[in-house]
């Protein structure tokens, strides 16, 4: 067996599950804040094997889902300008004002291209020197450094027709805002493995130190997730609450200082709007003055506008763990993956889409 396949080993999963269930005292309500964890917990079958006492809550871990209505409106505004829009595929069907999306804008003639990497967008800019090419920058700390590195290369190579619409979001300030909500009944956090590969463990310490909440940086295989749950149970049994790195094969405690430095060279923290949560101070990134020529907001003279929220959509409550997707009146009826009303049903990593696909 491949060394890394051990982290999928069914026998090891069974041992961990037995330990969790036999050692758990009371109820364990844990929240994950990563779309890849959401999908992994369902797809691996882990969720179906957990007892009723282990309650899985899916938080604001899908960047597409937390992108605010006014930011979606900005994508659509940009699609109406004379520019080539490049984007990760996840954003294409996200509904904005008047039920418009990038996909419908594309059908009406906007030049919207899906790319796998921001670097591919830069190549499109090189190949089309007479056009302005914009990359839609969404994503957490995992993604922001890749976009920052692309902007740096654009400047080094003098590619002046490339810019980024920067709506990146940061995980720790959102967690801080969430745990400050007295209605949130979460006892432990499963921390996002790949965000942590960039920022390390230190930025999460406040969860344990300020709020007494245990938190575990975990990988995405079933053994990784069950190991984290077992650590929560163990810590509770011993009366401890700590932030633990259990994904050491990928995450070093210090993170990736080079990626952080590239990200901080091009971007700086700014207040940001989150769907369902609202404005969180310092929870987003904006393009630094030195790189203003690559900031689509400045290049196109745009500002975020107030837009009405999607009618009837409860994605905001779902993202805060206050409403289970299937309790939303629209779920599976007016809102399905084929005809989504809200972003949590659009993105394959959205909680609603995962519940719909894997519900048991």
């Amino acid at each position: 067996m491949n060394l890394f396949d051990n982290f999928k080993d069914p026998e090891l999963c069974k041992v961990l599950l037995d330990r969790i269930h036999s050692e758990l005292d009371g109820e364990l309500r844990f929240m994950e804040v990563c779309g890849t964890h959401t999908v992994s917990i369902f797809r691996s079958g882990v969720r179906s094997l957990l007892s009723d006492k282990v309650v899985h809550l899916s938080g604001p871990g899908c960047p597409v889902c937390v992108t605010h209505d006014s930011e979606v409106a900005a994508f659509l505004e940009l699609a109406g300008k004379n520019a080539i829009i490049t984007t990760f595929g996840d954003l294409m069907r996200v509904p904005g004002p008047d039920k418009k999306s990038l996909k419908s804008a594309q059908a009406e003639g906007a030049r919207v291209k899906i790319v796998y990497s921001p670097f591919d967008a830069l190549k499109i800019a090189q190949d089309n020197p007479g056009d302005k090419v914009v990359f839609l920058g969404v994503g957490f700390e995992t993604t922001a450094p890749a976009i920052a590195a692309t902007v740096k290369v654009a400047r080094e190579q003098g590619i002046s027709n490339f810019s980024v619409l920067c709506f990146h979001k940061l995980v720790p300030p959102a967690l801080d805002a969430l745990v400050g909500d007295p209605d949130l009944k979460v006892q432990a956090f499963l921390l996002p493995g790949h965000v942590s590969a960039i920022i390390g463990v230190e930025p999460y310490r406040f969860l344990a130190e300020k709020h007494g909440l245990p938190a575990v940086v975990a990988g995405f295989e079933p053994v990784d997730i069950l190991q984290a749950l077992h650590l929560f149970v163990t810590m509770r049994g011993e009366g401890r609450a700590e932030v633990v790195n259990a994904y050491r094969r990928v995450v070093s405690d210090a993170g990736n200082p080079k990626a952080v430095s590239v990200m901080n060279e091009v971007f700086e923290p700014a207040d940001a709007l989150w769907r369902g949560i609202g404005l969180i101070p310092g929870s987003g990134l904006t393009v630094r003055e030195e790189y203003a020529a690559f900031d689509a907001m400045r290049v196109f003279g745009m500002e975020l506008k107030d837009v009405p929220e999607i009618k009837g959509c409860r994605c905001g409550d779902v993202l805060k763990g206050k409403l289970s997707p299937e309790k939303c009146p629209l779920f599976g009826k007016a809102c399905t993956p084929a005809a989504p009303v809200g972003p949590c049903m659009v993105s394959t990593e959205g909680s609603c889409a995962a519940y719909y696909k894997y519900r048991v």
Binding site: L3, F4, N6, F7, D9, E11, L12, V15, L16, R19, C34, G35, T36, C62, P63, V64, F88, D90, Y116, S117, P118, F119, D120, V138, G139, F140, T142, T143, P145, A146, A149, K152, V153, P192, G193, H194, V195, A197, I198, V223, Q227, A246, R248, R249, V250, V251, S252, N256, P257, K258, A259, V262, S347, E349
Partner: protein, 75 residues
């Protein structure tokens, strides 16, 4: 969206590397990786960039902890 895939490094060319997983080959950027990989290493790839090297020693250490803590045989 933070999905990242472990891929094996086949070739390194300046700030780019050719990597593969399950028959899929692609070129990724190395601008962000702190510890430059060698051919044969596995790197975690996200949006066309290698973010970090997958650490075999740490993987073995974690599995050894399971063996001791759970009294089972793995590696």
């Amino acid at each position: 969206m933070c999905l990242a895939i472990p891929m094996e490094v086949l070739k390194i060319d300046g700030q780019s590397a050719e990597v593969q997983v399950g028959g899929t080959r692609q070129t990724v950027r190395l601008d962000l990786i702190s510890e430059f990989p060698e051919v044969g290493d596995f790197v975690i790839v996200h949006a066309g960039f290698a973010l970090t090297r997958l650490d075999r020693e740490e993987a073995i250490a974690t599995l050894k902890l399971f063996e001791e803590g759970l009294n089972i045989e793995l590696v």
